[in-house]
Amino acid sequence: MRRRILDISQTVPALHIAPAFSCLEIVDAVYHGLMRRDGPDPDSFILSKGHGAMAQYAVLEELGVMSREDLDSCGKDGGHVGMHPDIGLPGIEASTGSLGHGLPLAVGMALADRTLGATDRMVYCVMSDGELEEGSVWEAMMLAPTLRLDRLIVIVDLNDYQSLGKISEIHPNFYPVAPKVEAFGWEAREVDGHDPGALHAAVATRRGGRPLMVIARTVKGKGVSYMENAPIWHYRSPSPDEYRRALQELEAVS
């Protein structure tokens, strides 16, 4: 799927490739093994870090939810697939792109499920660590345990990078995240965000009774050495030469 995203980057500028590589295993782990996607009340997935959309698109394409034509049209004249998830696209439940919106939406969905009796329905929300700087996140963070939303699972793609640099340097008191989250009444787990087994286990072994936040340590730009932890790749797409080098690295691994 990294290969597919890399290929698309050759026709679309500003693909936000590193944020997608950072959360790819997380999104994949949610769709494969965590989410119940069939039945009358399927689980929900909100990609609150909307700039990681290419990861979600690649997974949805692999699942056959989005078509190859959908992704091929990405960013093209008349195409309906853009750089951020848009409600109404196949498999996309919420329009995101501005940070700090997904968690309140997920809280509302989980509240409706609890109140209306759809008790086994889960809501998954993937956020970025930089996104946790938004005040709206902490408003929703405060609400979710109060509302006893124990079927809400948030996975934070924690790579210590935001657009302009390292979070730990911009906000030296930002980390550690887990105690802050727990102080708000959540259950928190810390795992390797590139390890699907660890992500699955964190959800499967939760104590329950309250919302769960899985803090998933990741590497921004994971899989392509020159993109890893290099802020410039938050946004830009690789040149043809850079594309070839990235391709060689990805092929060497697979």
Binding site: A94, H101, L111, T115, L116, S136, L143
Partner: protein
């Protein structure tokens, strides 16, 4: 009007188990009590968390629910503006934002509590409907209309204690249509919200002093605006007055001027809006209005009425 809202939303929730009311630490406590008592799972105080309130209501709507988000107008739309725009309007979800104290209703509380440009701001958003009822009867009808509307709506309410003006209105409330609420032939005053009471006072004064008959029209739905209806009024009356508790920028007065130009209306058009400036005077709402040139006297004077005590 807030009690009328609370009564109506109770009735809506009684018939529909998917109706929620979410407040941000502001609620018409006594009027809302039956709702809280009978539907405790569907009433929620989000606390002082307006962004989460709007986002949460969007999430409820994504599950097929109808949600009302209620707090003081300025806090309901300005603080969480991006949630209103992205979560509600961009996704076109059926959530009604109930702004209490629209316009200058909180006259004593200062500029932080004056929603004097709210109609302009909300109308600029695609998909957003804007409804501003003039009295408790219209507030009930407007609440029902917003609940039925299949997209986001901003319900701009006054406060409490507004008199009933439309009990004998010649035309019924119809979402998206101007409503004749007082018959007249010579002058037509088009207005919305609780300031419509001033339009009635003007009408009575002018009829008594000059013998001219004055119609009053409630423009309760500001988006989608009944542009054809407004063009018809501008064509049929010799004199038209627009009166609003809202900034002169982006309100009904600006619409009336544009429609008058486009429809080549030949009437005299007088507009009375708040000036485009923050309000630093205190007093009653009437005092604030007077400071901005909105008073029965000023309107009578503009219409050349013998009833005017100022010229």
């Amino acid at each position: 009007v807030r009690d009328a809202f609370a009564r109506t939303v109770y009735e809506i929730a009684r018939d529909d188990p998917r109706v929620f009311v979410v407040v941000a630490d502001i609620s018409p406590a006594s009027a809302m009590a039956p709702f809280v008592r009978d539907y405790p799972d569907r009433f929620l105080n989000a606390g002082l968390a307006e962004q989460a309130m709007i986002g949460l209501c969007a999430g409820l709507a994504m599950r097929g629910c109808t949600a009302f988000a209620y707090t003081i107008a300025t806090f309901a739309i300005y603080r969480p503006f991006e949630q209103v725009r992205d979560d509600l309007c961009y996704q076109n979800l059926p959530v009604t934002i109930v702004g209490i104290g629209g316009g200058t209703a909180y006259s004593l509380l200062g500029g932080t509590h004056h929603a004097q440009e709210d109609v302009a701001v909300m109308r600029a958003l695609p998909n957003m409907a804007v409804v501003a009822p003039c009295d408790p009867l219209e507030a009930a009808a407007a609440t029902l209309a917003c609940a039925r509307h299949r997209g986001p709506a901003y319900l701009r309410l006054g406060k409490a204690g507004e008199p009933a003006l439309t009990r004998e209105a010649p035309a019924p409330f119809e979402f998206g249509r101007l409503r004749r609420i007082r018959d007249g032939r010579d002058v037509c005053i088009v207005s919305y919200g609780p300031i419509v009471k001033m339009a009635f006072d003007v009408a009575e004064r002018i009829e008594a002093a000059d013998g001219r008959s004055v119609a009053v029209v409630s423009a309760h739905t500001l988006k989608p605006l009944d542009r054809d209806g407004l063009a018809r009024i501008l064509r049929e009356f010799e004199t038209v007055v627009v009166l609003e508790d809202h900034s002169e920028r982006g309100g009904l007065a600006a619409d009336a001027e544009q429609i008058a130009w486009q429809s080549r209306a030949g009437c005299a058009l007088h507009t009375f809006s708040l000036r485009d400036e923050f309000i630093h005077v205190y007093g009653s709402q009437q005092d604030l209005w007077r400071a901005h040139g909105l008073s029965v006297d000023r309107i009578c004077a503009a219409l050349g009425s013998r009833a005017a005590s100022v010229r």
